[in-house]
Amino acid sequence: MATSRDDIKFLSNPNIGSTRKKYCRFKKFGIKHIDYKDADFLLQFINEQGKLLPRRITGNSLKYQRKVSTAVKRARHLGMLPYLADLMK
């Protein structure tokens, strides 16, 4: 029988399995306007191929996901973001 150890409280990481609640950053921080000229900011909402990330992953509300998607499409038109890319991040 192993002696009990005080420094081991849990056998497994208790944080595993409990997912952190996703939230819409625009609602949370009160951002009302998404600038299509700010390519660095929009980079957070596209994957490494330059495709838009789904709401499932970003947690955006529908209202702001639509705005993000318009902004990304405008940025693509102006050559600030690529239409297609390999490993852009």
């Binding site: 009302k32 306007h33 600038d35 000229k37 693509r76 102006l78 973001l81 239409y83 890319a85």
Partner: protein, 137 residues
């Protein structure tokens, strides 16, 4: 009163005087049609994400203006489309949040300054971490 914003990319092979003249031409066109120019933002020479008219880079400009209607847009877009020196353009109507955003941006409340501070801090932390790792090793 309606607010609009036109962003366009000027050919980078032109001399800086020619670039300025091109921008001034469109600014004059707006004022001549009775629109108020709120701000001309020179975003500078940037790398394009993909080639446009066989150019790899372009000089970005953004003119924010306001007027009673949008009559000038057709005229201006036609002129921009016919202009060889313009690689791309985009006209956007701004809502009240957009106008507010641009004001705040000009006042320096939004954007680069804060972000650079955050990035610098992050980098500093990483450097510290690296230094700590180096010490451990």
């Amino acid at each position: 009163m309606r607010n609009y914003e036109v962003t366009f990319i000027v050919d980078p092979t032109l001399s800086s005087d020619e670039v300025k003249a091109t921008v001034q031409k469109y600014a004059d066109m707006l004022t001549a049609s009775g629109y108020d120019i709120v701000h001309i933002d020179e975003m500078g020479l940037r790398q394009l994400a993909y080639d446009i008219k066989k150019r790899h880079s372009g000089v970005y400009f953004c003119i924010e203006y306001k007027g009673n209607d949008g009559q000038v847009i057709d005229k201006m877009e036609l002129a921009l489309r016919r202009d060889d020196k313009i690689l791309r353009f985009l006209t956007v109507a701004l809502d009240k949040f957009g106008v507010k955003y641009n004001e705040d941006k000009r006042a320096g409340k939004i954007g680069k300054k804060n972000r650079e501070a955050i990035l610098a801090k992050k980098k500093n932390d990483e450097d510290l971490d690296d230094a700590a790792d180096a010490d451990l090793a």
